[in-house]
Symmetry: C2
Subunit: 424 residues, 2 copies
């Protein structure tokens, strides 16, 4: 997008109209063409590696100068390995089966009407995300795979990196004979551009996907005039039931919290069943502490495992994304479900128990996108589900819940084939 | 809801919280309990028939006094047969398979994780509709079938009728041991109540379904802070292709327009292929005119069939819901698709042709919820699709498109069952 004297509004309007043109091209392209475009995008990344790394170095310098802190900076940083990983991730999306045109269902009515439910692209998908350049590559590839035009608006900290990655993406699209407006990166850090996207760019946005922290999600919820596929934070719980196997519980809790602390599938709260807290909690607390995790407990938890910091109300609603976990003692499955209903974000919650009835009760009571029995919350991931790459984990209840991959980025239409039927 | 000195805001807040309690009860009820509740609701209607008819008579008097006109009044009118039909329609919903808890998919990952995608209720569904008391009965039954609490806000013209029908519904719920907050009718005609529902009643509304005219839909789109399942108007087209069988085309066009003019599946625009308009259009025009239909044509159409009124720009975007049809001559499948993309509402569009390639091209180009080949647009109906009763035809692209029945009112969650798996 050039800045040739146009107002932001005019530029964003143009971007929206261009996206609609890109969407039409992608929708009528063949699966082979979409695959070719993704492969070409992947091939273009190494050619642009130097430029991408240089752009990223400037982004990181500026971020550091602004005083942006450790984990946030770490997320945005690229190195040669990470750039190679971008290309690999894009290429893997080319292997995902093309969902467009697939028949989800087909049946014949008594009057002979043949009704098919057929997957179709949604149209134009706008993704608003914070400071991870890999999202630019993943989202572009997934949108092309699902036949949707993409409008990508990443965090301003990574604007140069995102635009440098986009140069490779645009080259790949051109190589496959698709307009570069199939994917567009918003080339300004002006936050007013986000407002215009949320307003729908004159009905040229069919779906908005926010990915980021609470303040971004809150803004999207307050302002969006187009449909939103919500990706809230992962305020995930592991409930260790009285009938849990202690060793299994310890392994799951440590993995759920500490395998990677910065992912949305990381556990943030440990709930321990009152009926066995005396025996279970010390094992779990020791395991976490040995892994370098800070524990913040309620009064009951601290009485049993005294090394904990005192948890305050905010701890139950904080997505730490750091080696910190809040710990509460609850009264059985019902107590755990009540805590999760009150404080959770409907993302991913797990129970550890050898009691099948307790497990099924937990599954029935907890209304989160992903409910796990005897497994780590860190499995909340499109790849782990077998979907391939994902845009994120949807926590809204509509359209898609859980990992959002290529298939979840489609809608469908009914195709009804008749032989002259009229309705009596 | 009583008016005991509470502000509207307090009353609506209470209604939202009560709906959440109703939703929890419905979600944990068994399929048998939900069925029993629907059957009891149906049985209660005849006991309340006299009260319902008396309430409706008062509604109709008041509407007539306000100068509300023919078709709108006719839609709201109840008589003993229509009250009996309410009960029958509710009872038929009890026969629809209960969708809650159904496994949509289930697979095992290489690491042994067993992943199931299981249907769950959405939660609290608010339906905002205009002046058809049968929606009160249908929506209540469908929401109970799908495990959702319902907040029903019908047109003020039918407020007494809706409340009288609700008395029967509440009795049915109580008989089945469910709280009457599983279904609630907003008992005020104050339009500010709609604004509060659109604002989400403190996150106690999970889905808003608007059913009504353009001004209602526009208001919902402008104000809603909760997810919306859009039911736009049906600006439906029948395109008669050059290779159409003339007799089949005539029957389909007449049926699509005139079988019932007031339903959302009625055709509003006839598109005729330029290549055969000279021979086809007179046949179609004569058939429609003989059926009492007014034709409003563009210049090309009027040149061929001179009895038409001149169509103005507004005619292409008007959902008449009356025996009036606009007529345009277009250039082949591409011309028809372009007209539909420009003026259509993405509801239901049909092609009549004996040319299979032209039919498939039309299906590919027209991105409406329902695309028909050689059949009447009046098949746009949940019953005709085999879904049983419906809330309406969704024209948004997300979550559900086309007829919205019990299954379309559910979401899903992933249940992942493991044996202690942690993520490497």
């Amino acid at each position: 997008m050039d800045d040739a004297g146009m107002t932001l509004e005019a530029r964003m309007g143009q971007l929206g109209r261009a996206a609609r043109v890109g969407a039409a091209a992608l929708r009528t392209a063949t699966a082979e063409q979409r695959t070719a475009a993704i492969r070409a995008m992947a091939r273009a990344i190494p050619r642009h590696a130097e430029a991408i790394l240089a752009a990223n170095a400037r982004d990181m310098e500026e971020a550091a100068a602004k005083g942006i802190s450790g984990p946030m900076l770490e997320r945005g940083l690229l190195n040669p390995d990470r750039v190679a990983a971008l290309a690999k991730a894009i290429d893997e999306v080319a292997d995902i089966p093309d969902p467009v045109g697939a028949e989800i269902a087909r049946w014949t009515r008594p009057n002979g009407l043949d009704i098919a439910r057929v997957r179709t692209p949604i149209g134009v998908v706008a993704i608003i995300y914070e400071s991870r350049p890999n999202v630019t590559a993943d989202a572009a590839a997934l949108c092309v795979r699902s036949g949707n035009a993409a409008i990508l608006r990443g965090g301003s900290e990574c604007i140069r990196s995102n635009l440098a990655i986009y140069a490779a993406i645009a080259e790949g699209l051109a190589e496959a004979g698709l307009p570069k407006s199939c994917v567009q990166v918003v080339g300004t850090t002006d936050r007013a551009a986000v407002g215009m996207i949320l307003a729908g760019l004159d009905r040229n946005v069919d779906l908005i996907i926010p990915r980021g922290g609470k303040s971004l999600v809150a803004r999207v919820q307050a302002e969006a005039r187009a449909p939103v596929l919500g990706h809230l934070e992962g305020l995930n719980h592991v409930f260790v039931h009285a009938a849990a196997d202690p060793a299994k519980a310890r392994d799951i809790v440590i993995n759920a919290k500490l395998r990677r602390v910065s992912v949305c599938g990381a556990a943030e709260t440990l709930l321990v069943d009152k009926a066995a807290a005396e025996s279970l909690l010390p094992v779990l607390a020791e395991g976490l502490a040995n892994g370098g995790c800070e524990l913040r407990g309620d009064a009951a938890a601290r009485a049993i495992a005294p090394g904990m910091v005192e948890a305050v109300e905010d701890d139950w609603t904080t997505e730490y994304l750091e080696p910190i976990i809040s710990v509460a003692v609850v009264d059985g499955v019902e107590g755990a479900a009540a805590h999760i209903a009150r404080y959770g974000s409907g993302h991913t919650d797990a129970i550890v128990t050898e009691d099948a009835k307790a497990a099924e009760r937990f599954v029935a009571l907890v209304d989160s996108a992903i409910v796990l029995v005897n497994a780590s919350t860190q499995f909340a991931d499109g790849g782990e589900f077998g979907f391939g790459a994902e845009i994120g984990i949807a926590t809204d209840k509509l359209h898609a819940r859980g990992p959002v991959g290529a298939e979840q980025l489609t809608t469908f239409k009914y195709v009804v084939r008749g032989t002259g039927q009229t309705r009596p």
